[in-house]
Assembly symmetry: C5
Homo-oligomer: 354 residues x 5
């Protein structure tokens, strides 16, 4: 399965705004979780029927509706109608290959980001598209799979920790994005550690696995960059947005979030550069070893091949070969050989080969 | 035939605005297809005479005139006159080596893009220039060869699916561009799959075909980029255009289109980087194998060349060579040889060569 | 002679505005060609005296004065005075190492570009500086050598083809620039063909000439870029210029010219990238061949060196060497040798070396 | 420990604005140093209780409160409350993995930079986060470890040197930042010297340590860049800031500081390029040596292997081998061998191998 | 001594605006040369006392005061006071490691550039900092060493050549900068010639000196860029400056100067690219030669090692070795050997190795 970009075979040629889900088809019902709260009250509920979202927009309390699963396009459409969402927005929610972005609709903001989680057991990154719709008194979040990074936000809602219960939907959306970006930082740090560990190894190791490892980490970083860079752009746009939906006292929090995502984007670039440097240094070290190997070969060959030749001469069976009959011929032979070998060694020594 | 840029020998030095077709000359008539529609009615017709386009501009219905073939410059001029097109515009329609662009004329918009189709049978990309002229109540599309990516748009027109029949010429133009960009994404995905598949192979394979493959994919990506990047620019300009021709409710669709083409441009860059990384890793892996080969050679040479030399010594025919006459000379020889070989092996072991 | 940038030794330290010609000194008279025309009349003349330009500014007809040769600085100064040109402008005309640029003076526009021609016979590019001065009713063009790319413009003037005779000096200047840029495209295409042809060769060829060829093409592209990129900037500036000298209906033509020069600049970048890729692929292919060569060597050496050693053992002349006296010693020897060789082959096979 | 980016495991999922210190936990009290001064008076004091900062904001004198240690989050909160600092600001003070930045709060400016010191004894760079809060009549500086680069500023305060005592809090903040940036320049210079020293060595040395050294210096430069580049951005923002806190006559000093930090950022880029060039040249030099080694091997092998073969021929024990019985066979053999060797040498000479 | 960036050890921690000279300390008096002129009069004088500058600001004539030597900080301060210069300006004059820049003070402009001269005898570049202060009726220039590039300007002043005597201080400053930039172009051309000469050599030469040469030229270009790029920025700023000090008719000259410095900056980039290409091509050519060397080795080894082995077989002393006793054994041996050799040659031929 291509990991980087999908072909979008399914919705080539469809009318824009057509609701088509491009992921795995399933039959189970969507899981919809509702948090309804204001400073004083909090209701937490799992809705078993999408129809239950009706009428929610009428109250002043903040509603967070978290939808897990996108395969039931009919249910998604129903939610969309209830909250007055633009067809293109809904299409983007279902099309999980979106580039992260911020879009402003008439009375809603629409943010798409990649939600990354690090599965500590499997030692892999789990990525999926998170769509956030922010309205005056509600926040909708859509994702394909159950499992998210929002547990700390839920805890803060339940425990009335921080300013979240006293703030509006914009702060809730910020808190969710903050959780997402915190996980970017964490994952970049995890992979970055592996990058930094490689540094010590590239000079010594002769393990070809190292090249594979560098390649793998480069791809991980490309993958992360694909999630982080446009998310940073979206957050930048959000922090500069002049919209009624964003209250004044949320602004410093968005700027803080922008700082963190800038840092994430920068960290990825730094690690990518480090990986390139590591590959270069690995190659240099390998060339160096190659030189060493060739020196050993050349020294052995250059010393013993001439000697073997000399011995070969006196191994010929010529009838008339005067040296063979000298009393000390054999010893002279050794002398000559040692002389030749010493001369060769001196030559290589002078060339600085050892 | 140069694939990337044409020399434009034919129209070097012609007066600007001269209508010269630079492609293959043919004699058959152009194929002109007309869709005339409003929310209630739809007429689909193939015009056998260019003269039939006369008077079409007078009605309020939306007209989509799709011209296949550019070799009949006289007919093109006739259409241009009927719709009041600028001579430079017509020149660009005929000159199929245009860089994708958006141009604003007095009461028309002119968009040039490359229309790419993937021929599944031949496994190749078919590219040609598509010129779109958008007027208040008409859309003209010009292309050199029959065959396009607009069948889904035609289906939607026929079936009154989506908002297309109820919208103006700007939405039709958008729908056509959307089809074009959808095919970009599809083709990038196809080629991207090949890029991603190579990843696993570069470390193991010793097949020189792999280098050729990387080279080929790089060129494909360069070719795609040449089509996609300026198309993205044109769409960006279109989405920011302040023109009477673009209605307010078409705007979100154009922004959506811009997102998709940004994603396409980004995907190309990512794949290009991946290909560069793959070549680097292939080279590293090859150096690594080279080191291995040289180690094998050196170990064999360094062990057996000295041994052969020693054997050579005792193969000489010196009359007086004392060792030959010792009772256990031969066995001592073996002992010495095994000792030398063991010493060498120890030396290489210590150097970490195996 | 340095081809890329001149040292400007001659005019180091001169007063700005001093007229010094830095090219080859000659004694022959300048060749001045005059086209004087309006929609109805056309006079074409070769002036044998520079003094003849006097009084030309007084009429309403469009005058195109084309000066071949810059060595007679006195004559150039005379022309400059007649048309009221700024001393710095004249200095730039004579200093043929200018960077292409557009400058706005009080009532003239000054454009400097490189005029490139492809000499089909010599298969080389001929480059020289072209200075264009545009006034309300005149265009002056200065160049060092006879021979230019303007013959098609002259033809159009003579034949009243296109709108050139009915337009002003701005359109004439555009037409001249258009001819220049058309030749850029043509030359880039010619060299680009060579670049594209190399693509197929880099993988197979072992000819070191290929590296030289890639190097040469890279330099050609650098040279072209040095001409095209600043020319594009100048044309961009020209197309955005708010000047009385540029009439409204010339604007679309300038935009078209900008498109073509953008395309030229882009083509150069694409070809430069292709050349880099080709060098990389050539290097990879060469490494690959190296690996092949080393494998052959290592296989031969690793098989036959041990065998030769074994044969050497039994070539020794030890008095007591039991194996020599066995009845089947020789055949056992062959058996052992074949066994060793087979084992080695199996080892290399398993390593995937052939 | 990852040196480049921290994972921020501790505060993943916390409410924004939560005060969590991510460094080493300690129990000792914070060290708070107070300078209170105006043009006439100066009081220098070490506060043993954080509570002593109360009421300091009421006077018109300039107060510089320097806090060493961040582990006592309660004390930090107390200071924050006294000076009316935003919770996000305090969170950033404690989170020492911040990206350098400038933030504007209602009546304070908040600057975060990395304070780098070169420990001459240990030959290493000591880095820590410095947070500067600038108010109308106070400057707060926070850092984790004791030891800073501000001694010269303190001296100038004590000795009334320069304009510092007569200026406001903005000038004090500038003076502190100036000290920080001065140390950037100094450290870049130190490491840069090592980079420049390597230049002479890369061509001659065969020491693999050199690769390690280049790798190490590249990482140092990446590390410095991570501190300097965003600091430069912050200073740029500061120098362009339109704030009541910055007095007019401090402006030239900030511009000067910007110049110096631009120079620092540029120096880092130059040194990084130099390191890349050095690695390239080292690799080229190594390839060159490899060629030399292979030439020696090939010359020896190509001369002596054929000779040994010839000798081997006449070492065979064929009963009928005519040459062996010629009177001068042995001498002819030598003649042939010398001829072969001379021919080989001539061949290699002609190839330019020595 | 580090050539690229100085550590600034001496003034780390000093109060900003402190006058500290960081160069070589000397005791001799500064050399101050004064040109006082207007259109009619010219006085040229060497001042032996700094005090003589007093009162110079009162007259309307243009004063050019050129100070050689910066070691006497007291004298510099005196000059500064007389002309009302800002302490930071004076600090920058003395600190000769400044980045080239333009600064605007109340009634003066301050330009810092590197003045480069090519010493033809020593074949080296002499670089030093030139500080130019432009006031309404004076220009101050400060440099550390005697010797400059201004002799042509002085000549023009003495001979009333060009418009310099009739113009103001702004034109004088321009003329000085023009001299500086002219020398940039000249020096870049000189070094560029060496770069272009290398082009022909990289393919053929095997001299390792070539790598050293490429490295040296790259560093020269880095050094030049460090001077030229910020100088270009300063000139750009100057040409766009809206200041009373710059008269309208000086503007075209500044634009011209900007063009020349842009060309200088561009030339440096082109030469840097050419050097990188040259190194790449040198490396490719070296790989190519390596392949050739290895082919020779492999062909020799693969042909003669098996033959030697065969000869070795028949050199064994087995009692029972039937082939030795055949009448034509020896000739059959030769036949087999020639066959093997021919087969090998055919094999290598087919592989395209020669």
């Amino acid at each position: 399965v291509p990991r980087f970009y999908k072909k979008r075979e399914e919705n080539r040629g469809l009318a824009p705004g057509s609701l088509v889900f491009i992921g795995e088809k399933k039959t189970e019902a969507l899981r919809v979780r509702l948090f309804e709260y204001d400073d004083q009250t909090l209701a937490e509920e799992t809705l078993h029927e999408v129809g239950r979202v009706r009428g929610l927009t009428d109250t002043d309390t903040i509603k967070w509706i978290n939808v897990d699963g996108l395969h039931d396009t009919e249910a998604i459409r129903e939610i969309g109608e209830e909250f007055g969402l633009h067809p293109l927005l809904l299409e983007d929610v279902l099309n999980t290959g979106q580039r992260p972005k911020l879009e402003e609709f008439e009375d809603t903001l629409f943010v798409v980001v990649k939600m990354l989680r690090y599965d500590e057991a499997a030692e892999m990154i789990i990525a999926e598209q998170l769509s956030i719709v922010v309205g005056p008194s509600f926040v909708l979040t859509f994702q394909e799979q159950p499992g998210d990074v929002f547990e700390p936000v839920r805890e803060r809602l339940r425990n009335r920790k921080g300013r979240i219960r006293a703030s509006g939907s914009d702060y809730l959306a910020y808190a969710l994005l903050d959780s997402v970006v915190d996980n970017y930082i964490y994952i970049i740090g995890r992979i970055g550690e592996e990058v930094e560990e490689l540094e010590g190894e590239v000079l010594e190791s002769v393990d070809p696995e190292l090249i594979a490892e560098i390649g793998r980490l480069k791809r991980e970083m490309s993958f992360l960059r694909k999630a982080v860079r446009p998310a940073r752009e979206a957050i930048l746009k959000l922090s500069k947005l002049d919209s009624d939906l964003i209250q004044d006292n949320t602004s410093p929090f968005l700027k803080d979030l922008l700082d963190i995502s800038s840092q994430a984007a920068e960290a990825i670039e730094t690690y990518r550069e480090m990986l390139s440097d590591e590959l270069n240094i690995y190659n240099s070290a390998m060339s160096h070893r190659m030189n060493d190997i060739m020196k050993v070969l050349t020294i052995f060959a250059a010393i013993f091949i001439p000697l073997t030749f000399i011995a070969g001469i006196y191994g010929t069976n010529f009838e008339y070969l005067p040296e063979l009959h000298y009393r000390y011929g054999y010893f002279v032979l050794w002398g000559v050989m040692i002389g030749v070998a010493a001369a060769m060694l001196y030559f290589f020594k002078k060339k600085g080969w050892f």
